[in-house]
Symmetry: C2
Subunit: 240 residues, 2 copies
DNA sequence: GTTGATCGTTACCAAATGGTTACTGGTAGG
DNA sequence: CCTACCAGTAACCATTTGGTAACGATCAAC
């Protein structure tokens, strides 16, 4: 087998991270481990199959690691390898360039207008969320305690719930409430756990909140996650 | 027309510079203006049509400029716009990563072994060429004066000729010699002009050497150019 | 008046990529 | 016994991308 030849170093790099999704995958993985279903939800538009093949290729190239947990239901987690980390400067730059040059209405500001976000968070966190999501992007952010959330969930009826796991409470009941509320309205209300370490992450997963972001959360990451999760069901916004 | 939505900033960037060729084009353009035919020869494997469409898309996105000269034969030159320049850090990083991680045998070292390079250059330049192309990569580098080159070209019979345009001589005759030599052996001997400014560039183009690299030339650029130009006719090296 | 150089375009075709739908498998819960 | 769960696979189809071959426009040189 003769090895592939490249006319310039860039071609080699493109061989590894080219294509529609690979850089995006690396971007979502860059701040910590994610599981398969999480990636699926964070990247609306990608199909199961394509995500699978892209992850496998990245794994074969040694850029990401794949860890299978012998549980039921199955759980598979993906994370950057040390080698994959060497690509971070590139994805970061691509992210920065995108942020700097995408018409603001497309990415960021517009996405969240009209959205109702329920935050269960410490005062500090909720203040930050209000600033980043509310003032800057026009979303309606409601912050409440867990107890109140449980009581008033069906009145608030948010588009998405953010849970700050630095609050050391049991969110199992919240998960139940969200599920029952889901039963009525058909559309499940998505939830995102904000975690600071692996322990909080385990807690979030075991309590039924597999989708998480690692603190300190970058705004683009948070906005992207919210936009993707809330638009997952009605993709009519897409067009040329 | 609803505008496209992006789940994360990276997707926007990918929209502009994704695909098999765009980054490579930007990479070749990053050190100065290039004309269409030059790009064609520097990127073996790309077809006329694809190069055209990619260049047009880059132009439409404001990343490169296109300048048509009302001459015959026609001449079209492409260069990065100020906006396109903002992408340079990304292509540079991709180049660096490729250089650092591509198996050395594929890119660089192996390409030039067995190649005979004729250099018409100042002592300083020829010393650098000998070091970068000869010692490091195993090519055979012969440096001669223009006068000697004209006399002994058919004896030397190099795979490629490098012309240092900081030598202020008339290379028109050399161009003629190369053409006549071409007539015999079917394969044209490619030539690359090493230029330091636009004036030298104009001189090179008018004397029949449209392919050029701007000094100070990066090694990867030089090696890539030589490898691409000398392998353009026999692409058997390609494989999975 | 034919050829050649340069930078294209058009029509057509092939390959790569991406997407959809249905199915698997083991277990917990009802 | 039936369903839901998650992370897949398999078979199939659609779209996008890339490639080939032929042609055009223009003028100069032979």
């Amino acid at each position: 087998m003769v090895e592939k030849q490249y006319g310039c170093p860039v071609e080699f790099t493109l061989d590894k991270i080219g294509g529609k999704w690979k850089c995006v995958i690396l971007w979502w993985l860059r701040r910590g481990t994610k599981r398969f279903g999480e990636l699926m939800q964070l990247m609306p538009g990608i199909s199961r199959k394509v995500l699978t093949t892209q992850l496998r290729e990245l794994e074969a190239d040694g850029l990401i690691g794949r860890q299978v947990f012998q549980e039921t239901p199955p759980r598979v987690e993906y994370s950057l390898t040390a080698f994959g980390e060497t690509l971070r400067p590139i994805t970061e730059l691509m992210c920065d360039w995108g942020k700097a040059n995408a018409p603001q209405f497309q990415f960021g500001l517009m996405c969240l207008r009209g959205l109702h976000i329920l935050a269960i968070a410490t005062p500090l966190t909720s203040q930050r969320l209000e600033a980043e999501l509310g003032e800057l992007r026009g979303a309606k952010v409601t912050t409440v305690s867990l107890a109140i959330a449980l009581n008033t969930l069906n009145q608030i009826c948010p588009n998405i719930v953010l849970i700050d796991y630095s609050i050391d409470e049991d969110f199992d009941l919240l998960h139940e409430s969200l599920k029952t509320l889901t039963a009525d309205s058909q559309k499940p209300i998505p939830a995102v756990a904000l975690i600071a370490n692996d322990q909080e992450r385990d807690r979030a997963i075991s309590q039924g909140f597999p989708i998480h972001l690692m603190e300190p959360v970058e705004t683009s990451e948070l906005v992207g996650a919210i936009a993707n999760l809330t638009s997952a069901e009605d993709m009519e916004g897409y067009a040329e």
